[in-house]
Structures are given as C-alpha cells and as structure tokens.
C-alpha cells in the first residue's frame, strides 16, 4: 500500500455518462486524489451520495455497508479530476450508475500498488477484457506520455459490450480489438489473439493485463510460454481496501495468500496462482 498517500476525499460528480447496457462513467472533482494517483491504483467509493454537511452526521445509511473498489481510468491533476468507469453488477454498482452531476461521494484512496516498469521495457502491450480495460486506459496514456510504445489488445463478449476502445486512439501505437462473437474486430478470445500477435509482431517487453479471471489465467499462460514479462491487475471482493480485513486473499504459488488491496492489485504474473 502507498499508505502515505491514502486520504478520505470528497468526489464531486462533474459528469455522469450512462449507456443503455448498465455502463457508466463518472468524472469526479477530487483534486488530492487526482494529484497523487498512479496508473493501476484504485479508490474505495462509498455508494451513497453524501447529503448536506450539517445533515451528514444524522444520515447513517449502512446498506450497502461496504465501499466498492474502482480503478481510476483517467486522472487530470490540473483540473483536479479523476474518472471511474463501471458496469452494473450488483447493488453497489447499480447505485453508482445512478449518480447525478452535483452529487458528492466519499472516496478513500488512492490505494494499492501501481503498474511499475523499468524504462528499458519500452514496448508494452496492454491486454484488457471487458471492464478490465479501466486501469489500462490510465496506464496506457501515462506510459505513452513517458516515452513507451504502447499497443492495446482489448477483447469483449460482443460489440455492444465494447467500452473504452475509442479513447485508446489518442495514444496507442497498435490497436487490436476482438469479440467472442466476431461482431466487432477479430472473432475470438484475447488469449488466442495474443498468442498470434506475439508470434507475428515480434518483440514485446511487457504485457499489462486486466480482465475476468479466466481470461487472466489464459493470458498469463500465453505470456509465460512466450517468456514475456507480464503484470496483472486483479479484482477480488474487498472489505476495506487498505489491508486490515484480510478478505481479498489471492493464492501465491506456495499456497499462502497475498492481499490484492495492499500487495496488489498489480502483481507480476509469477507472484500469484490464478488457477485456484
């Protein structure tokens, strides 16, 4: 954990975009978080909008009780803004999807270990699945700005599930899109496309991957075979987000557990056992 940097901040919604399929994207004014956050980090968001300051102490709403982890997909220190993108899965995300401009949300963050790469790893391939593209968008933009050559391979179930793809055009050197049903881009699983790309395109210095568990297991397998350094960003149910509840356990190869919130969410592929 970059605990030194953890703050409790108020995020004022300046923009709330929604799509029919339960996708949402919130732009929040939260200057301190925007200044500190690094790609790969996340915030714990309280899903109830704050009420007027003088009434906040009265308003105990404990259901849902726990904050929800969301990756930061963009940060603009100058404007003091961060962006989150999400999809409606359960009750917490459904509540956030209903956020309106002008509402304020309590945030804890930035949390977790960011994507860290030596400068020498110049050619990066970001491999994202579904909503897993969120932290990669932030990482891609920042690594491209600091001189890396960044390509993206994003996979989705179907065309209407494509999210975050357009904005990669601004900074990605190569862009590969796949859908499971072939309704957009190439037909197939990202791991299969990845295998072919690594064979055809030649050298990649590091893969940064985020997505559903099955996809990550497959992608890390391909990377291992191809001996490409691979960082994965993991998602686990989180109670606290800062290392005290021990709920976000992920198995290490030796059978002990790491914590996704403080040891991760970004791990080197070999640090974790994604098969259990």
């Amino acid at each position: 954990m970059n605990a030194e940097t953890l703050v409790k901040a108020v995020g004022l919604v300046t923009r709330a975009e929604r799509s029919g399929r339960g996708f949402f994207r919130l732009t929040l004014h939260a200057p301190e978080v925007a200044r500190k956050v690094q790609p790969g980090q996340f915030v714990m968001v309280a899903v109830h909008p704050l009420v007027a300051a003088e009434a906040e102490s009265l308003v105990a709403r404990w259901d849902p009780l726990l904050r929800r982890p969301f990756s930061i997909c963009r940060a603009d220190a100058n404007r003091g803004e961060i962006a989150l993108m999400g999809e409606t899965r359960g009750r917490g995300s459904a509540l956030l999807a209903a956020a309106l401009p002008g509402q304020r949300y309590s945030l804890l963050g930035p949390l977790g270990r960011p994507f860290r790469l030596e400068r020498a790893r110049r050619r990066l391939l970001l491999v994202g699945g579904g909503m897993g593209v969120a932290p990669l968008l932030f990482a891609g933009e920042r690594f491209a700005a600091s001189g890396h050559e960044v390509s993206v391979l994003f996979g989705y179930r179907t065309q209407s599930a494509v999210v975050g793809w357009e904005e990669t055009a601004a900074w990605a050197a190569g862009r590969y899109l796949a859908t499971e049903d072939g309704s957009a881009g190439e037909k197939g699983l990202v791991s299969d496309v990845l295998r072919r790309l690594l064979a055809e395109r030649g050298k990649v210095d590091a893969i940064l991957a985020c997505g559903p568990p099955g996809m990550l297991a497959a992608v890390t397998g391909v990377a291992r075979e191809a001996r490409v350094h691979c960082l994965v960003s993991l998602e686990r149910a989180m109670g606290c987000g800062f290392g005290v509840c021990l709920s976000c356990a992920v198995a290490r190869p030796d059978g002990t557990y790491a914590l996704v919130c403080t040891d991760g969410p970004v791990f080197a592929a070999e640090e974790v056992d994604l098969t259990v």
Binding site: M1, A3, E4, L6, K8, A46, S57, A60, W62, D63, P64, L65, L66, R67, L108, R236, A237, G239, C240, F242, G243, V244, C245, L246, S247, C248, A249, V250, A251, G255, T256, Y257, T262, V276
Partner: protein
Amino acid sequence: MALPDLSVDLGRGLVLANPVMTASGTCGFGEELARLFDLRRLGAVVIKGTTLRPRSGNPPPRVVETPAGMLNSIGLQNPGIDQVIAAKIPPLARYGVTVIVNIAGDSPAEYQELARRLDGVPGVAAIELNISCPNVDRGGMVIGTHPELAAETVGAARSVTSLPLIVKLSPNVTDIGIMAQAVVGAGADAVSLVNTFTGMAIDVERRRPILARGVGGLSGPAIRPLAVYQVWQVFRALGGGRGRPARVPIIGMGGIMNARDALEFILAGASAVAVGTATFVDPWTALEVVEGIEQYCRRHGVQAVRDLVGAAQEAAGAEVEQHDGEQGGEHDGE
C-alpha cells in the same frame, strides 16, 4: 468546565486513557492505521487473533456483504504467536500504543501455552481470550458455548500469567449472562462482547453458500441491537444495576459506527467499547468515536465517562426490570 475524564480502569492495573479500542481482526497489527493517525489517541489497540502456529487462513471468498452487515470467514490468518511477539508487538510498544493481544486456541492447553508465551512480553498490556473456536480435543465442542469448558480455559490461562485477562464471549448462546458468570468465576478480569453471530448467505444462482467455508460470522450495524442487549444482560448478570457497577468491567462492541452507537453500549453497561467493521468503511472511525464521546460529555455536563456506564439501566422502568429476568430476558415473543 474541565475536560471530561475519559479514562477507564479495566482491572488488574489496565487503565486506558479513553474507552475506545479497535476490535480484534479489524485493524490487523495496527500498521496500516498507524500511518493514518496517532494510535496512542485510542484507549487500546486489540490486534488480530493470534494462534500458536502460523495460519494461512481460509480460501476465498472470505467475506460477503449482507444487509447492514457482513459475514466473514477469514480463518484466523496470522503469522503465529512467536512471530507476533518478535515482529508485530515491538513497533507498537516502542511507539507507546496500549496493545491487547487476542489469542485463539483449540483447547485449554493451547490457550495456556499462548498466555504463557505472552506473559512478561514488553508492551503487552493485556490478553483477550477469543473463546469462540471449536474445541478439537472435546470432539468439536465449542468453548464459547459451554460454561465449564470456558471456565477451564480461563483458569488454565490465569494460572500462567499475571497479565489482565479479558474474555471475549460468543453471542451464539441462549444466555450470555451465564457464560459471563462462568468466566468471571474462573478469574477473568474483564469480559468483551460480542464476537460475531454465526450466519450464512447463499448464492441462489449457483445454489451454494457464498463463503468458501459455508458459514461465517456476522458483524456490522445489523447486529448492534442484539449486541447492546447482550451487554445489558451481562451487566445485570454480573451484579450491575441502578448505581451498582458490574463485578468486572465489560467491553462492548458490535456494529459501532459512530460515537452515538458507542454511547448505546456504555449506557447499557459497557465500561469501554471496540470499533470493528466500521474501520473497514472509514479507518478514522475509532478516533472519531473518542472525539464524539468527549463532545457528548461536554454537551451533557458529564464529568467522567465512567459515570455513564449502565446509566440506561437506572432509567429503565419496572417494566424492563420485570421483563428481564434470570433467564435472559425474553421479550414476549413477537
């Protein structure tokens, strides 16, 4: 008006600067919170349940949210008592934090061994015996639900340490007052309650329990009214009443989210309180509870927080009294 006196005496020399602690298992070993605020501003820090041998914990999922609460089955993940003594306690102790070590064992003998190793360790202010673990020696009997086993366990620990012993009671019993009497009889210096209530959540799509281990312990605001009542009951079972303190101090917890909630426990009979699940939602909660209690005392002209302990019992009319007999005070069954 002078500053209200927030100090509390939990017996056998354990005096806290204020009545607010963190609950075991909800603040790790204090490291994360120490980066956020000065832990010496809390009455005490109760560290994660510690066992004789290191434990890697249960497979995930380990938590599931429920209405105004959460179920957990962490599985007592901890580095083991030796490592806790060697690496976890010293930094807290050096810093001047009041450290209470929560221990868990499978048998009276294990509790005894844990207590023996902690005796004399610099910086350990007290031991909290978490007696809600299944007892493997006695064929799965649960120490926390059997008065004799609980007393035996407390006696075993008592015989090997001069540290204050707090016994943490399980709420999953018909009459928690009887459990409290048993452990106090066996030498407990204080009792703490409640530990989590046993519960389960089922994934209806997959038709199986959500937690990998099936059952889990319910904590959070959902249980607060149950926990307040159990503190109320224990206060009475230990002889507390109008103006009379209980035989030993009670540490109350269960769903405390703010100072108002903490005061419910104090007014019901708790001398101190612990903040658990709330820390997950907001890591500064325990500190805010200290400040809120102080403000409450000022606002109400209360000179010492100990004057509030059990005060709601005094106010309670005959009807509560009558309702709240030896057998645990059933209400009339609606």
